[in-house]
């Protein structure tokens, strides 16, 4: 029997859910301005969460050391978020409220998120918009000068703020500008092209990191009173994903190996609208924003023989007349239609393709069609909304989705896009309490890196919201509750034996990898890992498949340990070594995902166990047995199975029910 954690460990404040955050702030400990000057905080990562936290902490008076692996903080992968950011402003007068955003997020997460955290997220969402506008983020506006909104999956109101198809870019540049301001003020010291390679614990508290200077290859030591990791998700475990090439889970794995629990790793989001895989040389999958589902209709042929012809390249999508198209999302989910949440849309696409209705040469694609909206709105309006996405699609596939293909019986048919689901976001992450502190004292995790707000599935436009909520409005408060009694400690010296040991451990690991001297490149092993993960730990999981997957993951670890080859030198710029260190962690992460998926004998959100579905093929949750957060604890070695602790969920404000997007 897995151990059940004491509810007090989550540090959820007393009181009704709507008053918890206000109460918390009223009673938390603060750090006086003089003491702030004596306190150092390490922030690893410069995405929305990391940059906003570093900027806010610096501005408050703390001394911040901020690290990123890229050449500039502005490159962090938050920049690639296209669609938008949610907030409960109710500017559209369509009945939105903090409660409704909270409710939609909990429901969208399939009732597996922690209520108190989500309510706080919804509560501060409005501050984020105010903050970003004040920074000069050029959100889309209406002619009267007010902010514009669009709708997104999983909601019946328009609450998404956006900046063309580049919302993540604009929000990140906003946070980057705030960060730059603090660098100029001398409160944040920036370390670019540095990668955290080890967490340093002193007397049971996180007190620093070892980072590898990616230009010189040297290991360097950094100490602080607290460490914040804001290093994103673990989607690249699957090799092919919408993540950037450099995205990795190494910081999270370092924390996990030091004892931080890893929560709900099985909750991986598969985004329904990505450009399908085209070949084995492919390095990443390109996302087409979910906002396309506002005006695009998803379909496959009604007749199997049409699908066969499409797969053989004998006909094109535009050859199939309206009456022979199956708009399966509109058919199955009349109330939400094409705007069902991502997990539902992804599974529905897989279901059609598994039945043989796929529309490209691999049979793994469905159509996203703009004919109806182009006819209704005109190509100019459609291009204004999605022009950059259409161009991007054309550049990659050589097909222009806005182009008139043919007219049948007076109905105009435009080239449809082809899309297929791909790994996109990871809801699971390092376990944190209400204060965003991990199970290790002094170590905090924010943004996608933690597990806290999205439950088993994240709604569109909520990742940006969470990253900025954590970084601007939550962590800078809650970290003070920890730091308030830390100013009595003098600056920690990096000459302490703990730092020397941590550095030696990294050096040994690097030596070990170099000494394998096998024949296989990092990427070739990573591709094999990705293949196993997608095949056995992907969209449709079974007990048998997961057990096979775990076996194959052990083989991959063995292969990595015996056949890896790294050219070049250790103490030098070495991109193969960087990738090898990350791959080691991806393998451990892959196993963790599989263990959790195997344990969770239910289907919920992004986790679908084929044994647990209704007759109609919908996910079947098991609240009686699985209404908990699975927290995995490292057992001292990567090849040992982790142990699970349960954080029971407790809902006070929301009645847990079956997720329904049909009516």
């Amino acid at each position: 029997m897995a151990k059940i954690l004491d509810p007090a460990i989550s540090r959820i404040p007393e009181g009704p859910v709507a008053e918890k955050w206000t109460n918390y702030k009223a009673h938390q400990k603060l750090v006086n301005p003089k003491n702030k000057l004596k306190l150092d905080v390490i922030v690893v990562g410069t995405g929305l969460a990391g940059a906003s936290a570093a900027a806010s902490l610096g501005e408050m008076g703390f001394n911040v050391l901020n690290f990123c692996i890229q050449d500039s903080p502005r490159r962090a992968h938050s920049i690639a978020a296209q669609g938008g950011i949610n907030a409960a402003k109710n500017y559209q007068n369509d009945g939105d409220s903090v409660y409704r955003l909270f409710y939609d997020t909990v429901k969208g997460g399939d009732y597996r998120a922690r209520e108190a955290n989500v309510y706080r997220l919804a509560e501060v969402s409005n501050n984020i918009i105010d903050q970003c506008v004040a920074q000069g983020v050029p959100f889309a506006r209406e002619y009267g000068g007010m902010l514009a909104n669009r709708s997104f999956g999983g909601a019946q109101v328009s609450r998404t703020f956006y900046a063309k198809g580049q919302t993540g870019q604009q929000l990140l540049l906003g946070a980057y500008s705030a960060l730059s301001c603090q660098v100029n003020a001398g409160k944040v010291k920036l370390y670019t092209r540095y990668e955290m390679v080890e967490l340093v614990m002193v007397d049971g508290r996180a007190r620093g990191i070892i980072a590898r200077n990616l230009v010189t290859g040297k290991l360097e030591r950094f100490a602080a009173h607290a460490v914040v990791i804001a290093t994103g998700g673990y989607g690249n475990t699957y090799f092919l994903s919408t993540n950037a090439m450099g995205c990795n889970c190494s910081a999270a794995m370092q924390a996990y190996r030091k004892g931080a629990w890893f929560a709900n790793p099985a909750y991986v989001q598969i985004h329904p609208t990505c450009i399908p895989v085209h070949g084995d040389k492919q390095s990443k999958l390109t996302l087409m924003s979910e906002s396309l589902r506002n005006d695009g209709r998803i379909w496959v042929p009604k007749k199997l023989e049409d699908a066969k012809k499409l797969q053989a390249g004998q006909i094109k999508g535009s050859d199939i007349p309206e009456e022979d198209r199956d708009y399966y999302l509109e058919r199955r989910y009349p109330a939400f239609g094409n705007l069902v949440p991502r997990d539902v849309a992804s599974r529905a696409a897989k279901e059609r393709c598994d039945k043989g209705y796929g529309v490209n040469n691999t049979g793994l694609a469905v159509f996203l069609d703009f004919s109806e909206s182009i006819e209704r709105l005109g190509i100019d309006v459609v291009r204004q909304r999605y022009g950059n996405l259409f161009d991007m699609y054309e550049e990659i596939t050589d097909v222009n989705p806005g182009e008139l293909a043919r007219e049948i019986n007076g109905v105009k048919y435009y080239n449809p896009m082809m899309i297929y689901p791909a790994i996109h976001y990871t809801m699971g992450g390092i376990w944190v309490d209400y204060e965003l502190q991990t199970s290790l004292k002094g170590l905090f995790a924010i943004g996608e890196c933690n597990f806290s707000d999205h439950g088993a599935n994240r709604l569109g436009a909520s990742a940006l919201m969470q990253g900025l909520a954590d970084g601007y409005f939550v962590l800078p408060y809650t970290i003070q509750n920890y730091l308030s009694d830390q100013a009595i400690w003098p600056r920690i010296s990096t000459d302490m034996p703990e730092f020397a040991e941590a550095e030696k451990a990294v050096r040994d690991r690097i030596d070990h990898l170099f000494n394998i001297k096998g024949k296989k490149s990092v990427d070739s092993i990573h591709k094999e890992l990705g293949h196993v993960m997608w095949e056995y730990v992907g969209m449709g999981r079974t007990k048998e498949g997961l057990e096979t997957g775990l076996k194959k993951l052990k083989e991959i670890r063995k292969e990595f340990e015996t056949e890896l080859f790294i050219p070049g030198k250790k103490d030098d710029l070495n991109i193969e070594l960087e990738k090898a260190l990350r791959l080691n962690d991806f393998i451990t992460m892959g196993e963790l995902i599989a263990y959790d998926a195997l344990n969770r004998e239910e289907s919920c959100g992004g986790h679908f166990r084929e044994e647990h579905q209704t007759e109609e093929g919908e996910a079947k949750r098991d609240d009686e047995n699985f209404f908990y957060v699975a927290c995995w604890e490292y057992q001292g070695a990567d090849d040992k199975a982790p142990e699970m602790l349960k954080e029971q969920l407790n809902y006070e404000a929301i009645k847990v029910q079956t997720r329904n997007y049909k009516n």
């Binding site: 806010s56 501005e59 890229q70 050449d71 500039s72 502005r74 490159r75 920049i79 690639a80 500017y91 501050n127 105010d130 903050q131 506008v133 004040a134 920074q135 000069g136 050029p138 959100f139 889309a140 506006r141 002619y143 009267g144 000068g145 007010m146 902010l147 900046a163 580049q166 870019q169 540049l173 980057y176 705030a178 730059s180 301001c181 660098v183 100029n184 920036l190 670019t192 950037a244 090439m245 070949g279 040389k281 492919q282 390095s283 390109t286 996302l287 991007m392 550049e395 990659i396 050589d398 601007y472 409005f473 800078p476 490149s521 080859f565 050219p567 070049g568 710029l573 991109i575 193969e576």
Partner: protein
């Protein structure tokens, strides 16, 4: 889909002080729906298989938005893509069988080479730190809709804000000027009411920092806007000049 074969000449340089040279390699049967960077991945797989060090270049998101990729391909920053696009959005179908493809780093005094085609663009961060922001405290500013901004101004500011900081403008400029980069940020914030209070200070500080870091002046050759993957225009530079002159006159 077809396969193509071609010759690639790629720049190797061991550090800022190394003289550097081209390596040449025949690439055979590369599918033309491969992206340019995926083609370089194939090249690197081959090099590593031969026990050699891989060709180093910056890249990350591979969807044209992070601004990390920065290759000078056949004499053009980011190569000749269809619309404004970055290196990562260049596909091999734009090349022909038998082509010779030359790959070089951004070459500019402001961007020293780190290794091969990886250059140091931290100067851009320093210019931003000099003033590329609105000074605003995290907290509770007024309601977002309390600042009304005409749609046209917001759209124009958004176009200026689209700059990804890749540095193609500097690489294309015979003077190695960073004016398009600087002017895009100055324009974005100058067009918005939130940015006005610090507009004069910002223009002066960012230009001073740019000069200090060794970037050249603008002589209106428009090479920068021709290669900008995000279609920033030199109208921004005109606006920057206006802001700068007004600021200087006010002094």
């Amino acid at each position: 889909m077809a396969n193509i074969s071609f010759t690639i000449k790629f720049w190797r340089q061991n550090g800022p002080k190394d003289k550097g040279h081209f390596d040449t390699r025949e690439m055979k049967d590369i599918p033309d729906d491969t992206s340019f960077l995926e083609m370089l991945d194939i090249l690197n797989e081959q090099l590593v298989a031969e026990g050699k060090e891989p060709f180093v270049f910056d890249h990350d998101c591979r969807e044209g938005i992070c601004g990390m990729c920065s290759l000078y391909i056949n004499g053009t920053p980011h190569g000749k893509t269809a619309s404004g696009a970055t290196t990562c959005q260049l596909y091999m179908r734009r090349f022909k069988n038998g082509d010779v493809i030359t790959v070089e780093p951004w070459r500019s005094a402001g961007f020293p080479v780190i290794r091969d085609c990886m250059v140091d663009r931290s100067a851009f961060d320093k210019i931003m730190q000099a003033g590329g922001y609105v000074t605003v405290r995290t907290g509770q500013p007024q309601d977002a809709n309390a600042i009304l901004i005409p749609k046209q101004d917001a759209d124009e500011a958004m176009d200026c804000a689209s700059c990804i900081g890749c540095g193609a403008c500097v690489a294309a400029c015979k003077n190695g000027s960073a004016m398009l980069f600087v002017s895009s940020k100055v324009s974005q914030l100058a067009l918005l009411p939130q940015g006005r209070p610090e507009a004069a200070k910002r223009a002066k500080a960012m230009i001073a920092k740019m000069d200090e870091l060794g970037f050249g002046n603008c002589t209106n050759t428009r090479a920068c806007e021709a290669v900008c993957p995000k279609c920033e225009t030199i109208a921004n530079i005109a606006r920057l000049n206006r802001e700068f002159i007004c600021a200087k006159l006010a002094d």
